[in-house]
């Protein structure tokens, strides 16, 4: 009766390729309902459901890695290698967040309502991030960003009675709405330029010559503002330290890895699909060539390079002055975005592999560092660097594990962080962006100083001597995160192969 526009009209069978996402949505709804029946201080039902759902989604994602791109749900969503990678990452991050929220005093404190909904929201956010990673159309791009943002606002304000938390939430909402509005304007410019909403069609229109470089550049910068806000790149980072400090720490941990990775996923898909066309690009003598030809303004990698340098330098320099560990980690996470952006502007498959590898490693080590903060906050009631004085004698193994995370964040061998950074630098060198490589490398040296401030407090500064025992659950998850941080620094071939397969199955890069 009504004609459908898309070549592949959405159908129920599409969900066969959308299993992890479907599982996450169902999990969200079930956990929400289970909360109605939750009794007692701790909502065991929603917790178990959300954790189980994330794990099932994870298992489903691992067992069904897509081999090649496949457009589903009316061509609005594409399931490919890149999406396959992120739909493994996000349920994993969700599961870890749920696990360590369970024993966190900030979320599960004695008199806080709506405990169960928290777990449901984590599952919903994981779903939103998965969709961000597979959006193939401006509509889904915008909607998925909004879903993740909305859940983020709610979670940031979760400690309703804490002023800091409320302020964090409000700041997040205001900055978020502004940048989302700017992005929407950019998207509408793009639509006006091309008359298309699907990424692939937009590229086709641009290639057909319907592109005005100046307008395209403006549209691109506007879109970048929205995505830059999600990944917290300078100058769209203003919300980041306050929100990270004010939000409950488990939420901060989730923010520092989840939306960031999702933002990168979306940035990669959007820019690599719309602004890159197939074929080998130009390169200087001896340098590797990009795996695609730039459509539109030719200098946008340089723009990103400047953004990358400013982001990492600013993050590192400001982190030097911090005394609150959450703020310190917030600025350090800004710096890490700078490193990741280096990989983004390479426009090569190897650069993408480096980004994905780093995101995986970063998720593990950063969650580890934040879990350490949560676990100690439960016991010490604070998160200033000085609170950790003498920790090496009070809880030697915990201090040691934090040391592993710190070294990994700095990028020293033999930890996973070093390998991740090395892959990034390797591609930068291979593409002959030497100045960028030198700035990035020196930034790593700067970061050493503030990470070692935490080490210094734990090991050099004398403090209380009474032994400190953590929640068993926290210790267990810490071990679960520290072990791969170290192990991946010694042997990482399987992970590298996994990442390579994801990039090989990526629909973008002009392919």
């Amino acid at each position: 009766m009504f004609e459908t526009l898309a070549l592949n009209a959405p159908s129920w069978s599409d969900l066969r390729h959308f299993v992890p996402e479907t599982v996450l949505v169902v999990t969200f709804l079930l956990a929400l309902m289970a909360d109605l029946f939750a009794r007692g201080r701790r909502p065991a039902g929603p917790f178990a459901l959300a954790l189980g759902g994330c794990l099932v989604a994870l298992a489903a994602a691992v067992s069904s890695l897509p081999a090649g791109p496949r457009s589903i749900l009316g061509d609005l969503v594409v399931v490919d290698g890149l999406a396959g990678f992120f739909r493994v990452l996000f349920p994993l991050i969700g599961a870890i967040t749920i696990l360590f929220s369970w024993a966190s005093g900030e979320i599960m404190g004695p008199r806080r309502e709506h405990k169960g909904e928290f777990y449901a929201l984590v599952a919903l956010m994981a779903f939103g991030m998965c969709v961000m990673a597979s959006a193939a159309d401006l509509i889904m791009l915008y909607l998925s960003v909004e879903l993740v943002s909305l859940t983020s606002y709610v979670m940031a304000g979760y400690m309703r009675t804490s002023l800091r938390s409320t302020e964090a939430s409000l700041k997040y909402v205001i900055f978020g709405s502004v940048s989302s509005g700017v992005m929407l304007y950019g998207l509408s410019l793009l639509f006006g330029l091309t008359g298309e909403t699907t990424f692939v069609e937009i590229r086709a229109a641009l290639l057909a010559g319907r592109a005005d470089n100046f307008a395209l550049l403006v549209a691109m910068v506007f879109v970048l503002a929205g995505l830059g806000y999600k990944i917290a790149a300078v100058p769209f980072h203003f919300w980041c330290p306050d929100v990270y400090e004010g939000a409950p720490t488990p939420v901060t941990a989730l923010f520092s890895v989840g939306p960031k990775a999702a933002g990168f996923a979306l940035m990669i898909r959007f820019f690599y699909t719309t602004l890159l066309s197939p074929g080998g690009g130009q390169a200087a003598a001896g340098a590797a060539a990009p795996d695609g030809v730039i459509v539109g303004p030719a200098d946008w990698p340089l723009l990103i390079a400047i953004l990358s340098v400013v982001t990492m330098t600013y993050g590192n320099l400001v982190a030097l002055r911090q005394t609150n560990v959450k703020r310190l980690l917030a600025y350090s996470s800004i710096a890490h975005v700078g490193y990741l952006l280096m990989g983004f502007l390479m426009l090569t498959a190897a650069g993408l592999e480096a980004i994905l590898f780093y995101l995986l490693v970063y998720a593990i080590m950063n969650l580890g560092a934040f879990l350490f903060v949560i676990a100690l906050n439960n016991r010490l009631g604070g998160e200033e660097i000085s609170d950790y004085a003498g920790l090496s004698t009070r809880a030697p193994w915990v201090a040691l594990m934090m040391m592993v995370f710190l070294l990994s964040l700095t990028g020293l061998p033999p930890t996973a962080g070093f390998i991740g950074k090395m892959y990034l630098f390797a591609e930068v060198i291979n593409r002959h962006w030497f100045w960028l490589a030198v700035v990035g490398a020196l930034n790593s040296v700067v970061s050493l100083f503030y990470y070692m401030k935490i080490a210094k407090a734990m090991y050099f500064t004398p403090g209380e001597r009474a032994p400190l025992r953590l929640e068993p659950l926290h210790t267990a998850v810490l071990i679960l995160l520290a072990a791969p941080t170290l192990a991946l620094g010694v042997y990482w071939t399987p992970f590298k192969n996994f990442v390579d397969r994801a990039v090989a199955g990526f629909a973008g890069l002009g392919g």
Partner: protein, 183 residues
């Protein structure tokens, strides 16, 4: 020509009332002025043959959102007049930035060959939109419902009694709240 006249009329209504929303120091006046802004936008939609969108704009934004805003403004004891003056030190950079942005957008809008579509007929769009939502765009349609659900949960969580539930246990012993009020 009457079309052009209507366009400029609606545009002027939108822009001028929007200015008033931003610059008025009386929050009630600002709220009422918003009515004209939203209405002007609805008019622009209608001129683009987006009849459903225009109607939605009127029903949802003017009939729903704006009324809620006015309710909130009237029923709370926010000072009606903005507190304190805006410092010139903030106004000037903001103004310069806004002007620059305007110049940029003006250049983009006037200097760009847009991908223009042929004028569409002014047939009612509601039926086709509804069909689209349940066929081609069923996924975003359902997706939006999730966003709304998340927003509802957020509202439920954020807009609750500020006092830490004093009545949650049968014992009712008011535990010290210091642990939560670290700020």
């Amino acid at each position: 020509m009457s079309g052009d006249l209507a366009f400029y009329g609606f545009a002027a209504l939108t822009v001028l009332s929007a200015f008033y929303v931003v610059f008025s120091r009386n929050i009630v006046h600002a709220g009422f002025s918003l009515l004209f802004t939203l209405f002007g936008v609805a008019g622009l939609y209608a001129m683009l043959a987006a009849d459903f969108l225009a109607a939605t704009q009127v029903i949802v934004y003017i009939g729903g959102v704006l009324v809620l805003i006015l309710f909130t403004v009237m029923m709370t004891r926010i000072p009606r007049r903005g507190a304190g003056g805006r410092g010139l030190d903030r106004f000037v950079p903001a103004g310069v930035f806004a002007l620059l942005l305007f110049a940029l957008l003006y250049k983009v809008i006037t200097g760009t060959p847009w991908a223009e579509k042929a004028p569409v007929s002014a047939d009612p769009t509601t039926a086709r939109l509804g069909a689209s939502f349940l066929t081609d765009f069923v996924f975003p349609f359902e997706f939006v419902s999730l966003i709304l659900l998340a927003a509802m949960i957020g509202a439920a969580i954020l807009i609750r009694d500020r006092r830490p539930a004093a009545d949650d246990g049968a014992g009712g012993a008011a535990a010290p709240t210091g642990e939560e009020e670290r700020s």
